[in-house]
C-alpha cells in the first residue's frame, strides 16, 4: 500500500494531490510503527508528518502554483542514483541481525540496564520517556536546541522577505 502511494506521488503532477497523498503516506507509516511497537514514534509521525507538515505544505502551495513544472532533464540519472542507493541499503540490511533477535548487539549493550533499572531509578513506567528525558537528557536538550534554531532560522529568513515585499508594494 505504501509502495502504491509512493508510485502515485511520483507520477502525480498536481501538487495538491501530492500533499494529500504525502499525508496518507505518513499515516500508513504511523500504522507500520505501531505494528513495530514504537508507539511514541508513531504518534510523532502521525502528528508531525501527517498533520503539521501537510498544513505547512498547503500553506506553501497557496503561495505558489499548484501544478508541477515539466522536468527539464530526463529522469534517468536520478533514477539510477536512487536505485543504486536503494540496492546498497537493501544489501546493508542483509548484514543486520534477524528481526526481534534477543541476541542482537543493540539488545545487549545498554538496553537491558534501561529496561531493568529504569522504572526503579526514575519511577517512570514508560521506558521511552525515561531514556529520552533522563538517561539521554543531553541529547534531548540538543534536539530542543535544534528545533529552536530552526524556528529562529525561519523567523530570520521570512521576516526579512516579508519586510522587503511590503517595501516594494508601497
Amino acid at each position: 500500500m505504501m509502495a502504491a502511494v509512493t508510485v502515485v506521488i511520483a507520477g502525480q503532477r498536481n501538487l495538491f494531490a501530492v500533499v494529500i497523498l504525502g499525508g496518507i503516506y505518513s499515516f500508513l507509516m504511523a500504522t507500520v510503527l505501531v505494528a513495530l511497537d514504537a508507539v511514541d514514534v508513531a504518534m510523532t509521525e502521525a502528528s508531525v508528518g501527517a498533520g503539521i507538515s501537510t498544513v505547512l505544505f498547503l500553506g506553501a502551495l497557496h503561495l505558489s502554483k499548484s501544478e508541477e513544472m515539466k522536468p527539464l532533464h530526463k529522469p534517468f540519472l536520478p533514477l539510477l542514483v536512487a536505485i543504486a542507493t536503494g540496492a546498497a541499503l537493501v544489501y546493508g540490511t542483509l548484514g543486520l541481525p534477524a528481526f526481534s533477535d534477543p541476541d542482537a548487539p543493540i539488545h545487549r549493550h545498554v538496553a537491558p540496564r534501561y529496561i531493568n533499572d529504569g522504572p526503579r531509578e526514575t519511577g517512570v513506567p514508560n521506558v521511552v520517556t525515561a531514556v529520552l528525558a533522563s538517561y539521554r537528557g543531553f541529547d534531548t536538550l540538543g534536539e530542543v536546541t535544534v528545533v529552536f534554531t530552526a524556528g529562529i532560522g525561519v523567523i530570520a529568513l521570512l521576516r526579512r522577505l516579508r519586510g522587503r515585499g511590503k517595501g516594494e508594494r508601497s
Binding site: V39, D40, A42, M43, T44, S47, V48, G51, I52, V55, L56, L58, G59, A60, H62, L63, R120, E121, T122, G123, V124, P125, N126, V128, T129, A130, L132, A133, S134, G137, F138, T140, L141, V144, T145, V147, F148, A150, G151, I152, V154, I155, L158, R159, L161, R162, G165
Partner: protein, 144 residues
C-alpha cells in the same frame, strides 16, 4: 472558511478536545506513549486549526506573535534551567536526583520540567512557522 456553519461549530467542539488531548499526552507521557514533542505539536495543531477556520488574525489574537517568540526561547531556557538547578543543588548538569530529597521524586520533577520546556519550544516553533507561511499570502489568506 468563516462562513461555513458546520466547520465553525465542529471546530469549536474539536479544538477544546484537541488541547485537552495534548495536555493528556503531555502529563501522561510518563505512563503511556507521548511526551513534550507530541504534545507540543498537538497543541500547535489545535491553534493552527483555529487559524485555518477563523483566519490568521483571529489566531494571532488568541496567541500573539510576540508571545510565540517568547515561547520559542523560554522552552529551551526552562530545559537548560533544569540542568543549572541541578548544578546549584550540588549535582552534575541535568542531574535530576538532587532536585528532591527522594531521588525518584527528583527524577519525576526533572522529567516533568524538561518535558514542559520541550512542549513550549515545539509548540512555539510550529506556530511561528505557520504564522510566517500563512502571513506571507497577504490578506487573501483568510479564504484559503
Amino acid at each position: 472558511m468563516k462562513d461555513y456553519l458546520v466547520l465553525r461549530v465542529v471546530s469549536k467542539l474539536l479544538i477544546s478536545l484537541m488541547i485537552l488531548f495534548g495536555l493528556y499526552v503531555q502529563f501522561h507521557g510518563d505512563f503511556g506513549p507521548g511526551g513534550g514533542f507530541q504534545a507540543g505539536v498537538i497543541i500547535a495543531a489545535a491553534i493552527i486549526f483555529y487559524g485555518i477556520i477563523y483566519g490568521l488574525p483571529a489566531a494571532r489574537a488568541v496567541v500573539p506573535s510576540g508571545l510565540v517568540e517568547i515561547m520559542i526561547a523560554s522552552g529551551v531556557l526552562i530545559y537548560a534551567g533544569v540542568g543549572v538547578a541541578g548544578l546549584l543543588l550540588g549535582g552534575n548538569y541535568l542531574d535530576y536526583f538532587v532536585l528532591d530529597r527522594d531521588p525518584v521524586a527528583g527524577q519525576h520533577r526533572g522529567i516533568f520540567w524538561v518535558e514542559i520546556g520541550v512542549l513550549i519550544t515545539v509548540a512555539g516553533v510550529m506556530l511561528k512557522i505557520f504564522y510566517m507561511f500563512a502571513g506571507r499570502g497577504g490578506d487573501n489568506r483568510d479564504d484559503a
